[in-house]
Symmetry: C2
Subunit: 81 residues, 2 copies
């Protein structure tokens, strides 16, 4: 296998932070009266990933966070309590 | 190659957001009078990655963001203008 094709990515994973973020997204989504499917469509993020994000299974990137914030009609800043 | 070993990751990449975040980290780092090396050591993030983040080359994850915020003595919320 030619490993050269995979850029060397250093990935720190902080489960506590990831879980807290997932809970925050769920809380904000419900506040807005959106289903996971509504949020998935608005953010143009697959439904399966919304579920994984809310369950704290995904180390979400800033680009996906921006899509979620925009769909929730919030700034990135307000995505964090 | 056994593709099964690579979890299917959906990665949205928003260069504008990534660049803005990099500039923000640089601005905050300088405000705190830290070099890239100081920030790398405090955040326990490789120096090379600090450079890539500030140049807007990396789609930073929430876990790395949390490490940066903590090193800059800020909340995740304050990491965003």
């Amino acid at each position: 296998m030619n490993t050269g094709q995979f850029a060397f990515v250093i990935n720190i994973k902080n489960d506590k932070v990831i879980k807290a973020f997932g809970e925050r997204v769920r809380e904000l989504r419900k506040e807005k009266g959106l289903s996971q499917e509504d949020l998935a469509n608005k953010a143009d993020v697959p439904l399966s990933q919304i579920g994984r994000i809310e369950r704290g299974e995904v180390n979400t990137t800033i680009s996906t966070m921006y899509s979620l914030a925009t769909a929730l009609e919030l700034s990135l800043r307000d995505l964090f309590a």
